[in-house]
Subunit: 151 residues, 2 copies
Amino acid sequence: VLKRDYAGQDCPIAQTLEVIGDRWTMLIVRDAFLGLRRFDEFHASLGLSRNILAERLARLVDEGILQRVLYNERPPRYEYELTKRGLELNVVLTALRQWGEKYLCEPRGILRRRSDRKRAVAAIVQEGTPAISAHDLELVPVGPRRMSRGK
Amino acid sequence: VLKRDYAGQDCPIAQTLEVIGDRWTMLIVRDAFLGLRRFDEFHASLGLSRNILAERLARLVDEGILQRVLYNERPPRYEYELTKRGLELNVVLTALRQWGEKYLCEPRGILRRRSDRKRAVAAIVQEGTPAISAHDLELVPVGPRRMSRGK
C-alpha cells in the first residue's frame, strides 16, 4: 500500500527514493564507494541475508547504478562496480554523512581531494563552481578518539 | 529484524538513515522545504493516512528536524517549521532531486539563489567554497514541456 500511494509522488525526489530509498540499498552504495566490490565483501560488511543482498544488488544493476564485471572465468565470478550514474550518487551520500557527523555521531572519516588533500564538503553552490569528482575524492578514516590520561 | 541488524551499521550514513531514511519522512521534509506547514497541507500533498502522518511528524519533532509553532490559541493549533538542523538537510534533498532530474525524469523546478537568481546546484566542493544557505534558495516550478507542433 505504501508503495502504490508513494509512487503517486512523482517528483524527482520521490522517484530517486523509489530507486535507492531502501536503506540497505543506500548502504550497499555506500560500501561500493568505500571500495567493496565482491558479494562476500558486501555480505561481511552489512550482515544482511544473502537473499536480500542478492536481490538488492540485482536491482542496483537493473537501475544502472552498479555494473557486473567478470573477474574469474572458471567458475564465472563477478564483481560489482559503480557506473557513472552510480558515482554521481556521491553528493547524496556525502550530504547524508555530513549531516550525520554534525548531528548524530563523531566523524568517522575525513573527505578530501586526493590530488592535494584539501578537505571537501557537500554544499549548495552557484552553478559553475568547480566541483570535485568522485574519482578525485578519498575518505580517510579517523579512529575513535582516545582519552589521553586518566579515564 | 531489519531494524536491529541495521542499527549495527553505526556509521553516520546509517544513523542519518535511521532518522530520515523512511521515505514518507523524506517527503514530509521535502514538503516542508516547499513551504508546507500545516498538518492538513502535508496530508493533502502526500495522501498518506492521518495516523502515519501524525507519527512521522512527531518523530521529526523528537529528532529536532521540525518544531511545532502555535498559530491559533483557541482551539490550540500548531504548524510545523524546519529547525536549523532541518534546514541543513537541504543538501541531501537537493542532491536527491538533482540526481532524479538527471536520470529519472524531467526537471520540475529550477533551484536558484533568491538574491540574484543565479542557478544553484548540490556538489562536492573544496571546504571554504561559498555556499548558498537554505534561506537564500528558491525552487521555481517549471511546467511539463508541451509539444510545439504536430505530435
